[in-house]
Symmetry: C2
Subunit: 403 residues, 2 copies
């Protein structure tokens, strides 16, 4: 019921006067509508009726081929050894899904049974919990810090997790990135214990500072085995087309295809053709730098505003990419503060939404991709004032918002 | 394994020389590509970036409104009493889904638990079984005849079925239509026993002869209660956009929305906007008559060819609409015949694929929407010759294909 109440409150974020740090929306004003329109025209001219007809459940052959080739290239880049041969990734390792969310849902369907143990970061991606909870699984939360999931904690679960779910790059909700040695440790644990790693990477290409790290997937020497990599065009192109994918062993893909057939037959054909058209035209090379430069400015505007307007005993993460950061208060209840923030036309998501085990009431998730820098500054200033007022009233003995 | 073998065989149906009665594909050569292209252009101009952004899980507000209004109109038409007020159907009774298949999947998720009893026609829609079987349900097959599901058989299941699934109009695979008195009887059974009816109606608008019958849904006097109506734009517009819907009580829709959020967040925005643009331009009034006239000719061509080329002891259904009919042989094994048919470049789906309880080996499903009349005649003639040869070899004592 409480969650529903938060959802209801957040519905007001659609009002234009609201400065929303709540959703996980890309910046629509940056969408290359004219280019997509041209791409659609070319699809109708070149592909014609086939772009509106049923297609294969596996997804558009050209798109699967493009994704496989991209991962072969990435495996070479991330290895740093130019003589090495690329990781063996082929179209049969790729399933196109209706957004990354469907990939997560299908993975749950083919892997999970009642009482299975699933290791997740705490906090973690909310819609992953909604997708897998109906299977009656037991979520084992692992702590995370500035280096991402504390993979050393996996040891105490030895042998038990069937799946390990994480977002190694610019995690939602924390914005943290998994350190390289932890990626290696994670993979070793999975190999030894027989667990599968679900590497959810919707934001990986949105890096604004620091060095890119190899995917956990590309650390596997002989091709996809223990890792299922989940990707998406939602954040680097546009989410409304609903085109994501899974990259995994051919055996896993075959099972996922059967599950997808029952779930929605196939991902929409037109969206797949438009994405392929944009990829083949090299559009991401043109668009991604613009997108990243804008998001970097927004991240920096938020970090600067937090520094200026938030009390000195409050801390927050400093993401190297992605769309979110997380603020942690010494004692403030961020859920209880939300109605006051909304009254000031500022929205965010209370951090406890993303936590297991009742933790996180003193945290809030802030999205920085969907407001311009000036608006970010105004919004953070208002939040900062509210928090100051709160501290004052706490000093007066009111403990309403204390944990 | 056998099913997989059939799927593999059917993959050859993509070869252009094959006359395929196998798939369930609409006729792509009739798709109004130019009109869809114009509609997409208008969407990019009028809606712009919002057509590529995340949208509400419930679906595009305008599209839900259009569907609700259409059902209010239909409820008046089907009642035949012009003074009656329309059935109360509102946008909150509508969820947009990623094709009708997703609607069926989501319904299974929110209703079904292990050992639940589900009543289905026998034969029934194959992908319904795939979607609901993982819940561990018990399918209770009901016989069907020229009048559709034998609803009188529901009595022997009194109280047990949680869901009753059927395709009342031009069923897949049989092409049969549920008689009006059976629609009433079905609804009364559901009301008395508390069962929910899943009225799957992808083909309802594709009627080529006979009188249109009211939806089971519109027989409910006070709005959607026991009936969940599943609709789709795949057969009346284009399937590649993947836009379907469920119409049900607001309480059921609310639960389906939560399930959909976990499944794929939302149906692709661009496809929804294109469909709405076409609907608002009144395009179906223009397109549907053309589509129906073409499909009617194809149905008639198939019925005439069956009459001419199939032995006189073979029977088949005579659908008043839709895309399929079903052939029944006295003893021929249609599964065993398939490789020979493919060798003659003709494809179909063996009827046993759609049957529960091992029935139907003497049946085949023929699709007539995806081949031109001349090709239909050639294909049926070849099948007829094969069947004749088979009868001759049977006469010689070979019983390979006998049941």
């Amino acid at each position: 019921m409480r969650r529903t109440a938060v959802r209801e409150l957040l519905k007001v974020t659609a009002r234009p006067e609201i400065i929303s740090f709540a959703g996980g929306l890309p910046a629509a004003e940056l969408f290359p509508v004219e280019r997509v329109k041209q791409a659609a025209e070319r699809v109708f001219e070149r592909v014609g009726a086939a772009s509106l007809q049923y297609g294969e459940t596996e997804g558009l052959a050209g798109l699967r081929k493009w994704i496989a080739a991209e991962f072969r290239r990435q495996s070479l880049r991330s290895s740093g050894e130019h003589n090495r041969s690329p990781m063996p990734v082929h179209p049969e390792n790729v399933l196109i899904t209706s957004g990354a969310q469907q990939a997560l849902d299908l993975i749950g369907r083919i892997f999970l049974e009642e009482s299975d143990c699933v290791a997740v970061e705490n906090p973690t991606y909310l819609a992953l919990l909604s997708a897998w909870r109906p299977h009656g699984v037991e979520f084992q939360p692992l702590h995370s810090d500035e280096q991402g999931m504390r993979t050393q904690e996996l040891e105490r679960l030895r042998g038990r997790p069937k799946l390990i779910y994480l977002t190694p790059n610019f995690q939602n909700p924390q914005g943290t990135t998994l350190a390289l040695e932890r990626r290696t440790q994670l993979l070793r644990f999975a190999q030894e214990s027989g667990a599968a790693i679900v590497e959810d990477d919707p934001y990986g290409d949105l890096r604004y500072s620091g060095e890119a790290l190899p995917h956990v997937l590309t650390l596997e020497p002989t091709g996809p085995t223990n890792v299922l990599y989940v990707g998406s065009f939602s954040k680097v192109l546009m989410p409304g087309l609903r085109v994501g994918w899974v990259l995994a062993s051919a055996e896993v893909i075959e099972k996922l295809v059967q599950a997808k057939q029952a779930a929605d037959l196939q991902t929409n054909s037109l969206g797949q053709h438009i994405v392929l058209e944009l990829l083949e035209a090299g559009f991401p090379d043109e668009f991604l730098p613009v997108l990243k430069e804008n998001y970097r400015q927004r991240r920096d505007a938020m970090l600067e505003a937090l520094e200026r307007f938030f009390p000195s005993d409050v801390s927050w993460t400093r993401p190297e990419g992605g769309m979110f950061l997380m603020v942690r208060f010494p004692s403030l209840d961020a859920t209880a503060l939300l109605p006051r923030a909304l009254a000031q036309s500022v929205a965010y998501v209370p951090g406890e939404e993303f936590h297991l085990g009742g933790e996180g009431r003193n945290t809030m998730r802030l999205n920085f991709s969907n407001a311009r820098p000036e608006r970010i500054e105004v919004g953070i200033r208002r939040l900062g004032q509210l928090i100051e007022e709160q501290s004052v009233s706490e000093g007066k003995g009111s403990a309403v918002f204390r944990l």
